[in-house]
């Protein structure tokens, strides 16, 4: 054997070893327990899924729960019997909580189901060996319980160059691995060879053992020597000075290879795999004999026991049963610790089962392990930093943990703490440092989980908000569409109403000015959309009417002034007796200018007219938008105003004995008639649409324009003879009637939905025409 270089890990402590007590006696077999409790989660990862049901009888080695996913392990019956329950039972956990367990009531026969041995395990493929190890439910037996099959199946791109078998067992009191190495040396070496074979025969295969186990080292070296000679392999047994905690995975890797595993990485990133000696033996038994993991060697030690020794204990054996086998004196016992004094945890109940990772049951007496004295203030001695094998600053971590400064804790690499307890051990103030770190780790993990959950909740909340907004928008769009359709409908109805209304109002006073206001009347009869469009164009034309008007009037003015200037010049020329041809020229020029002025004036007039038309169109649109009721009311009020005005005019004419008095009287009478009609229309509208809302606010401009228009009409009417008026009214009515009839016929052809409205329009026009003709006759008779 060649000597191997040893590196020294920083920190570490030398607590009393207390290993002799349990090594004094030979390995014992724990008898059949009255009950076996098998927790479904004895490993890191997902709990296994039960394959049996209550009342079912099972045999020893039978698979009772299968691995659920990759990070999980199978579970086998430790003896034959019946499944008495699958329920929550107390388990060996620092929390003292319960977890789902399969409970087996043994039948005492210990009947085994047939196993599948393999005579040539080294002829097996990698995958086959890993599958067998997985089927056997193997987990790391050192304490963490990491599923072994996962460790033996590194990522395809990582090649393993070193296999380390951990036989360090640095924790005081525990001797299970020591006993295993001494009693199962051959199996261990075969297991090591098998694991090396599984990992593709790495260059270095090292078995690391602390130098406080000389018997084990001697036995291993002899066996390794034999194996190396027989099989041509190179297994090295390396012993190194005892120091706690050399058995930590990262510490052992450093001691044996001088390499440090990066924070947050696994040893496989360096091409290293570490397996416990117990795991190696179990792997050999699983592959060679097909034997699943149903038992392990556990150290049962402590001064409250009459016998302290190592025992082969089946998984699931209640701890109180194991203790009873060793003469447990409950009165002497301070507490029951699972694991060693450094990293183990105290149990509140002893009825919990031994699991795959239980390497030690420590039942110390009060004097052996007195309760830790109360913690005192940190004196900042710095011993903890010297003791820390991970190179951390325990004191800083302590302060941050006390004040819940999670970010700072993570910045100080709290998660690299292996919780070995060296810092607490050396602390002169007896501060339970590790407990602070464990609590802080738990808090940080919990906070991370909460953060994850709250992020998910936020996401869900935001998605919900988004969805609701979308739904609301869709609803609103529908509502808008419905509203638009309703408005269109209403506008159509209103247009019809307005058409009739306008015909009323026009009828009364329009007579000779009728031609001027016909443009708004026609679109009023036409469809509502057209009207709106017209109104819009009118509005556009009106955009800056004052400016245009001003420009036009300026032109007119300048032309007028130039005409007067020219006239003056011409008069001067005539009086001075200038050349007649020149005077003629001047006259022609004057004529031209006069023509231009005329043109400008007509333009200005036309502009004024279009302005007025725009206003009228506006008014018509306004009317159309307003409900029929409003329109009728408006008409009525304007008519009343006109009547009062007409009455005034008439009175004036009578007083002054004017010839137009008669005509004015006629007008007043007519207006009275109209008012009567309008009143009727209003009441009709009120009856027809009692519920129709007067939604449109009255625009003062439009109202004023309507008043203005009515005034103009009355004035125009006043300046006409009654005969003329009557004649004009009859003519216009006839025109409109023929137009309306045309439209009605067209509507009949196309089956327009507003057919009825057209029909009533025609009827009304006919009535009006009749009335107008009568009035005309009356007028002519009077005349």
């Amino acid at each position: 054997m060649t000597s191997h270089t040893i590196w020294e890990v920083p920190g570490g402590i030398h607590p009393p070893e207390n290993k002799a007590q349990s090594m004094a006696q030979a390995l014992a077999e724990c008898p059949l327990a009255p009950e076996y409790i098998l927790p479904l989660n004895q490993h890191i990862g997902a709990p296994s899924a039960p394959l049996v049901s209550v009342g079912q009888s099972v045999k020893k080695y039978q698979l009772i729960a299968d691995a659920e996913g990759i990070f999980s392990a199978a579970l086998h019956a430790p003896t034959s019997g019946t499944i008495s329950a699958i329920e929550e039972r107390l388990i060996a956990h620092p929390s003292g909580l319960s977890a789902p367990c399969i409970v087996i009531a043994p039948d005492g026969l210990d009947e085994a189901c047939p196993l599948e041995p393999c005579e040539q395990p080294f002829a097996l493929e990698h995958a086959a060996i890993v599958a067998k190890i997985r089927q056997a439910g193997l987990v790391g037996m050192g304490g963490a319980g990491f599923p072994s099959a996962v460790k033996l199946n590194p990522h395809a791109n990582t090649s393993i160059n070193t296999l380390i078998i951990n036989g360090t067992e640095c924790e005081p009191y525990i001797t299970a691995d020591d006993m295993l190495m001494q009693t199962h040396t051959h199996e261990l070496l075969e297991g090591v060879r098998l694991l090396a074979h599984t990992l593709g025969n790495p260059d270095n295969v090292l078995i690391g053992v602390e130098d406080n186990k000389p018997e084990a080292i001697a036995a291993l070296q002899e066996a390794a020597h034999k194996a190396n000679q027989k099989h041509g392999c190179d297994i090295q047994v390396v012993s190194f000075p005892t120091k706690y905690p050399s058995g930590g995975e990262k510490q052992l890797i450093y001691i044996l290879t001088g390499q440090e595993v990066e924070s947050g990485k696994i040893p496989a990133s360096l091409g290293i795999v570490v397996q416990n000696v117990g795991t190696a033996v179990a792997a050999w038994r699983a592959v060679r004999y097909g034997e699943p993991l149903i038992e392990r060697i556990t150290t049962v030690v402590g001064q409250s026991l009459q016998v302290q020794r190592n025992m082969r204990v089946r998984i699931g054996t209640p701890m109180n049963f194991v203790l009873e086998q060793n003469g447990f004196m409950a009165s002497q016992s301070a507490r029951l610790i699972v694991g060693g004094p450094m990293m183990g945890y105290a149990l509140e109940q002893t009825c919990v089962p031994v699991i795959k990772t239980t390497n030690c049951l420590l039942a110390p007496s009060h004097s052996e392990m007195p309760e830790a004295p109360p913690q005192q203030a940190c004196i900042r001695c710095g011993h903890c930093a010297e003791a820390c094998p991970a190179g951390l600053l325990p004191q800083q971590l302590y302060w941050y943990a006390r004040s819940d400064e999670h970010e700072k804790l993570e910045a100080h690499h709290l998660f690299d703490c292996i919780e070995c307890g060296a810092c607490s051990y050396v602390c002169p103030s007896s501060i339970p440092l590790v407990q602070y770190y464990r609590a802080a780790k738990g808090d940080i993990r919990k906070a991370a989980a909460d953060k994850l959950k709250s992020d998910k909740a936020r996401e869900r909340f935001e998605h919900r908000q988004e969805r609701l907004a979308k739904e609301e928008a869709a609803k609103e769009a529908k509502r808008q569409a419905r509203k638009a359709a309703a408005e269109l409908n209403k506008a159509k109805m209103a247009a019809q109403q307005a058409a009739t209304e306008t015909s009323h109002s026009q009828n009364l006073a329009s007579t000779s000015t009728h031609k001027d206001i016909q443009p708004p009347a026609i679109p009023a009869i036409a469809s509502a959309e057209e009207l709106v469009a017209n109104a819009a164009t009118a509005a556009k034309a009106q955009q800056d009417p004052t400016l245009d008007k001003a420009r036009l009037s300026r032109t007119v003015e300048s032309l007028a002034s130039s005409i007067t200037r020219m006239k003056a010049q011409m008069a001067e020329a005539v009086s001075e007796g200038l050349d007649p041809s020149r005077i003629e020229k001047m006259a022609a020029k004057l004529k031209q200018t006069e023509l231009k002025a005329q043109e400008a004036k007509t333009k200005l007039d036309a502009f004024d007219k279009t302005l007025a038309t725009g206003v009228l169109v506006d008014a018509a649109a306004q009317k159309m938008m307003a409900s029929p009721q409003d329109a009728a009311a408006k008409t009525l009020s304007s008519l009343q105003k006109r009547l009062s005005k007409a009455q005034e005019l008439h009175l004036e004419a009578v007083n002054e004995n004017k010839p137009s008095a008669d005509a004015l009287k006629q007008g007043v009478i007519k207006l009275e008639q109209k008012i009567e009609e309008a009143k009727q229309a209003l009441s009709e509208a009120q009856n027809a649409a009692p519920s129709s809302s007067s939604s449109e606010p009255q625009q003062p401009d439009a109202a004023a324009a309507a008043i203005e228009r009515a005034k103009q009409k009355v004035q125009a009417a006043a300046s006409m003879t009654p005969e003329q008026k009557a004649q004009a009214a009859v003519e216009s009515l006839q025109k409109r009637l023929s137009k309306a009839q045309e439209r009605y016929a067209k509507a009949q052809e196309t089956h327009d939905e507003n057919l009825e409205a057209f029909a009533t329009g025609v009827e009304k026009l006919e009535l009006k025409l009749k009335a107008a003709m009568e009035a005309q006759q009356e007028g002519s008779e009077q005349a």
Binding site: I91, P94, Q332, S367, Q375
Partner: protein, 204 residues
């Protein structure tokens, strides 16, 4: 040019400074537009610290609106589900003194809760589904509803609308996986400790 600058050092220095400040101003202005940070960072940061139960106990319709309100100057102690931990982290984010929880908005819950629908009593009215801010309730008209436990924030908003009172808020059961070590009681002193019955005789 150079001669003039040499002859008139003060005006030329002023000119150079003015040119520099103008050019730097232009660069800064361009950068401000080009690399403009979208959204309100402070609100996002505050929102990230809030527990996202969306319970409305703070008086805002969700955690984001409360985050906005905090950014606008509201007190940071209106969030009972977050408890003192949230207040502390908010205080350290905003650089203010951490107040204690405002009791007006409710007490911090002792344990985490989730809603649970007693399914035999559910009439399938969908009222709780509409109330749930995180869509954690499944169900349809006249069909039994149930709560997706992993998504429930325990905000309590579904309890009130239920016409048959079939929703309970149950404490989340802590399993072995969720369990964590407790912080040691640092204030314990020697005389506080109750001596165990055998310790006296053992030490003799």
């Amino acid at each position: 040019m150079l001669d003039w600058m040499i002859n008139n050092p003060v005006p030329s220095a002023l000119l150079v400074l003015a040119a520099l400040s103008l050019s730097f101003g232009a660069i800064l202005g361009f950068a401000a537009v080009k690399y403009k940070v979208e959204g309100d960072l402070l609100v996002e940061q505050i929102d990230a610290l809030l527990p996202q139960t969306q319970c409305g106990q703070c008086g805002h319709p969700g955690c984001k609106p409360y985050a906005q309100a905090i950014a606008d100057g509201e007190a940071i102690n209106h969030c009972p589900p977050g408890g003192q931990a949230t207040i502390n982290s908010l205080a350290s984010l905003l650089g203010v003194e951490a107040p204690s929880l405002d009791a007006e908005h409710g007490q911090a819950p002792e344990v985490k809760q989730v809603a649970y629908i007693r399914e035999e009593d559910c009439i399938g009215c969908t009222k709780c589904i509409q109330a749930c801010p995180v869509d954690a309730i499944l169900g349809a008209q006249k069909k039994m509803h149930t709560v997706i436990e992993s998504e429930c924030t325990g905000c309590d908003l579904c309890v009130e609308p239920c016409p048959v009172d079939c929703i309970d808020l149950l404490p989340v059961e802590e399993g072995v996986r969720e369990w964590a070590w407790e912080k040691p009681n640092a204030d314990l002193i020697a005389s506080d400790r109750v001596p165990s019955p055998n310790s006296a005789e053992a030490s003799v």
